[in-house]
């Protein structure tokens, strides 16, 4: 590496960026100017709106028989501007806007009930209901205390449990916590947006302009050129980060967020910035990689957009409440850094995970930066092809298959979901036979395969049945064990378990209908789609392992449920491997149906069996035997 050359290229890129004043303004200073506007503006408007709602007069009426309640709470209601109308009111008065809330009394057991009627689609009505509710609660609590007193229960036994909540966090920590939510996401965003301007300028625009060719005939190593450009991208993103850290920090310190001013420690900000450097290098490497593939600036922009959206997802980690920085999460690219920055800003950060986040980000950046040296491959860059050709060369069939699969998913979401909500049984059948089955043909067509070759359902042979039967325990074991294993990281909430049990309950439908609904139909339709059209379509220009992996992940995602993603994907991988091995779709159809039937009728039993090593050994033996049945892969391939 010739450092002089790298420096020369870097300086030219930097000068070029600095002279593009409008781009500079848009990517560097505009966001920095926005925070004060956004924060102070929002705070100001919100306060004004809340104040106006708090001080607005609400009109409350009482229903028939609610005289006693009226007497009790009228005084309490008057603490805020409130007009209590005399007379008796009906719900229709609410609809016609004569009152904002109506209080009725209803004789319920064990105690009479005060019902507050309101309309949530009106701000004032909701406000009135809230005020009435508070008054009623105060009145009720007072009444209960009086009753306890008359019973001679003194002092109130609940007093020992009454509490006053005190925030033990120092003001710095509160400011840091607020900043720690916002800053990581902002940093990821500005790093990408400023970095992408620089990256597109350094690679795509340079190629479009024809100066890249000139550079490549100069006596400078292409890797030095790429390194200089990479450094310019990194410098641009870090410069944007600094301005944004300063602006956001100052806004929060001056009380832009939520009125009170927060103290923000400068050393914490500096620490956050240091943590950002390796991730900024990682992002700069990604951006360089992407924009070096584009032939024009505009094409490059189209590539950068999905990348920045994808990077935002891990960047959200610090913004969403409740995600702790654990050593495992610290290893997630971008996400680990975001969490570590949040912890550093809050102060008292756990040392090990923060160090891990910094170290892993450095490793990722180093791995990526090693590749940038190879980005300026003249053979590729100078090939005279239309822009689409370069991109479309690779994996044409796979990409068509995936496109059609995405369309299938959308159809299931937009049509299947509402159908199943209206009628669970009919909707399920309609989804499977009306969407999934036709879409299997659609996907096969998109991948360019004739249906016979995609589906391979010609001859059902005894070996197919045998193999499926031998694999049923293994399939149950795989999905059951994974469900159990993931419980540590991904515990299933009670409500979801109940919902699942209700859906597949045999109390409301007959066993034969359940078999048709939950075993036979998914077995047929989903196998035609996933192990038929999708797997074979991907297999056209992908190696078997990749085709199996992608189709299984899609199968996992198709259940639209995070807790089923991994177990179903593993099941999908088993089915896909079996299909490729057998050269027929039949074993997968039978195994899928068999597995679902097992879960349907013996789900409880399987979860006990999973603890029995003998069952697991038997499953493994069955799986081994099943795959041995098709010793020569593709024996009966059409």
């Amino acid at each position: 590496m010739n450092l002089g050359d790298v420096r020369l290229v870097f300086l030219r890129e930097a000068r070029d960026l600095l002279r593009d004043r409008r781009a500079l303004f848009a990517s560097l200073f505009l966001p920095a100017l926005l925070y004060p506007a956004l924060f102070f503006g929002t705070a100001h408007f919100r306060k004004a709106a809340e104040k106006s709602l708090e001080n607005r007069e609400v009109v409350v009426g009482f229903g028939p028989g609610a005289e006693r309640i009226r007497f009790a709470i009228e005084g309490l209601l008057r603490r805020r501007p409130c007009r209590v109308l005399s007379g008796s009111f009906e719900p229709s008065d609410l609809a016609e806007g004569r009152v904002h809330a109506i209080v009725e009394s209803s004789p319920a057991v064990p105690a009479p009930e005060a019902v507050v009627r309101f309309r949530s689609n009106s701000d004032l009505s909701a406000e009135a209901a809230a005020r009435v509710g508070r008054a009623l609660e105060d009145w009720r609590e007072e009444a209960r205390r009086t009753r306890l007193e008359t019973w001679g229960v003194l002092p109130d036994p609940a007093a020992a449990f009454r509490f006053e909540a005190v925030d033990a966090a120092l003001p710095e920590r509160a400011g840091g916590a607020l900043l720690g939510r916002l800053l990581p996401l902002v940093l990821v965003l500005v790093t990408i947006s400023a970095g992408s301007v620089a990256a597109l300028e350094a690679f795509a625009a340079e190629r479009e302009r024809g100066t890249l060719e000139t550079l490549l005939v100069h006596p400078v190593a292409p890797s030095d050129l790429a390194t200089g450009k990479f450094l310019a991208i990194l410098a641009a993103s870090l410069a944007a980060a600094v301005t944004n850290v300063a602006s956001l920090g100052a806004t929060v310190a001056l009380g832009g967020a939520g009125g009170a001013s927060h103290s923000v420690s400068l050393s914490a900000l500096a620490g956050a910035f240091l943590l950002l450097v390796p991730t900024a290098a990682f992002l700069a490497g990604l951006l360089a990689e992407v924009s070096a593939r584009a032939r024009t600036f505009r094409e490059g922009q189209n590539y950068v957009l999905p990348l920045s959206l994808a990077c935002m997802v891990p960047g959200l980690a610090a913004f969403l409440p409740g995600i702790e920085l654990t050593p495992l999460l610290a290893l997630v690219p971008i996400g680990g850094t975001a969490l570590a920055i949040r912890e550093v800003l809050k102060g008292g950060a756990p040392l090990l995970p923060v160090a891990l986040a910094g170290a892993s980000a450095t490793v990722y950046a180093a791995l990526l930066v090693r590749r940038t040296g190879r980005l300026l491959d003249a053979e590729r860059i100078l090939r005279d092809e239309p822009p689409e050709a370069e991109a479309s060369r690779a994996h044409l069939h796979s990409r068509r298959t995936l496109g059609a699969t995405a369309a299938t998913f959308l159809l299931v979401f937009y049509l299947g979901f509402p159908a199943q909500a209206r009628d669970p049984i009919g909707g399920l059948l309609a989804t499977l036979y009306g969407i999934v089955l036709p879409c299997a043909f659609l996907v096969a067509r998109a991948s360019g395969l004739p249906p016979r070759e995609a589906f391979r359902l010609s001859a059902l042979r005894p070996a197919h049945v045998l193999a499926a039967a031998a694999l049923v325990p293994a399939a149950g074991a795989i999905s059951g064990l994974l469900l159990r294993l993931q419980e540590r990281f991904l515990p299933t909430p009670e409500s979801l378990l109940r919902e699942m049990a209700e859906k597949m309950s045999l109390d409301t439908i007959s066993p034969s209908l359940a078999l048709l609904l939950f075993a036979a139909s998914p077995g047929l339709c989903e196998e035609l789609l996933f192990r038929g059209a999708i797997l074979r379509g991907l297999r056209r220009d992908l190696p078997a392992a990749k085709a199996v992996a992608i189709s299984s992940l899609l199968f996992g995602a198709f259940h639209f449920e995070i807790h089923r993603l991994v177990p179903q994907a593993a099941l999908g991988a088993l089915l896909a491997a079996l299909t490729l091995r057998a050269g027929s779709l039949w074993p997968a159809v039978l195994l899928h149906a068999g597995h679902n039937a097992l879960v349907l009728f013996a789900g409880e039993a399987v979860s006990y069996l999973l603890l029995d090593p003998r069952f697991l050994v038997a499953s493994a033996l069955g799986a081994f035997a099943a795959f041995r049945l098709f010793a020569r892969p593709g024996r009966d391939a059409a």
Binding site: L8, D16, R209, G210, V217, H218, P219, V220
Partner: protein, 250 residues
């Protein structure tokens, strides 16, 4: 310089591209020629004949599939950096950095060639004078006219005083004044002893400027020689007639 004094030597050059739709494409199919110091060799041929590919292999940005090429005695595959140091390369679609001034452009590329500080300054002044850029030396390239930009590009090409010039259709897109300036420039460089290889499809230019002309078609050299030699071989007078005659002859 190689033993026979040729500044550019190309022997049996073959370049094969893998094309997704057309399969293998032989852009060059055994091209050989040489160009001596102080000589202007023109490569003439229709679009897709392989002119640009040949020039790019010589400027080391593409690797040949077979055959050998050397510039100023340096092998294009073995010593790419040495080759790049001895060539000035310019093509029709070469651009300039819009936000650098003419002077900064020359400075940047001069430094990329590792010109020592004490030589770079005077060299830039000489070039600004020679290409009549003094007035606009500190204006950004984005604000220059097409002709001015072309002059900056030409100055950029010779900033390191290369012994060999490789020019890919240097006059395409230029107006009459610009094109004649470019031709005057080439003549002056030849007078200084430069070996010049350039490709064109403007026959008149080739007739006027070239010491020898190579006719390239579908990756092969159909004929190479002085204009006189080509005339004798085909019995036609003008290149416009010589060219189709060569294409039709077996």
């Amino acid at each position: 310089m190689s033993e026979d004094g040729a500044a550019i030597r190309v022997e049996g050059l073959v370049k094969v591209y893998a094309d997704p739709r057309r399969g293998e494409v032989r852009a060059l199919d055994g091209v050989s020629f040489a160009c001596a110091r102080g000589e202007v060799l023109g490569l003439l041929g229709p679009n897709g004949a392989g002119k640009t590919t040949t020039l790019r292999i010589l400027s080391t940005v593409l690797l040949p599939t077979e055959g050998a090429a050397s510039v100023a005695g340096h092998d294009c595959v073995e010593e790419p950096l040495a080759v790049r140091r001895s060539i000035g390369f310019l093509s029709a679609n070469t651009g300039l950095y819009p936000r650098l001034t003419a002077r900064e452009t020359l400075d940047f590329f001069g430094r990329l060639h590792h010109l020592p500080e004490d030589r770079l300054g005077p060299r830039i002044e000489t070039l600004l004078e020679a290409f009549d850029l003094r007035e606009i030396a500190d204006r950004r390239c984005e604000k220059l006219s097409t002709g001015q930009r072309q002059r900056v590009s030409l100055a950029r090409t010779v900033v390191h005083a290369p012994p060999v010039l490789i020019l890919d259709e240097p006059t395409t897109g230029l107006d009459i004044l610009g094109a004649s300036a470019a031709i005057l420039f080439l003549q002056s460089q030849r007078a200084e002893g430069c070996a010049i290889l350039f490709s064109t499809h403007v026959m008149a230019e080739a007739e006027k400027l070239c010491d020898r002309i190579g006719i390239l078609h579908r990756g092969r050299i159909l004929a190479i020689g002085t204009l006189e030699e080509l005339r004798t071989r085909t019995g036609r007078r003008y290149l416009e007639e010589i060219f189709p005659a060569l294409l039709s002859s077996p």
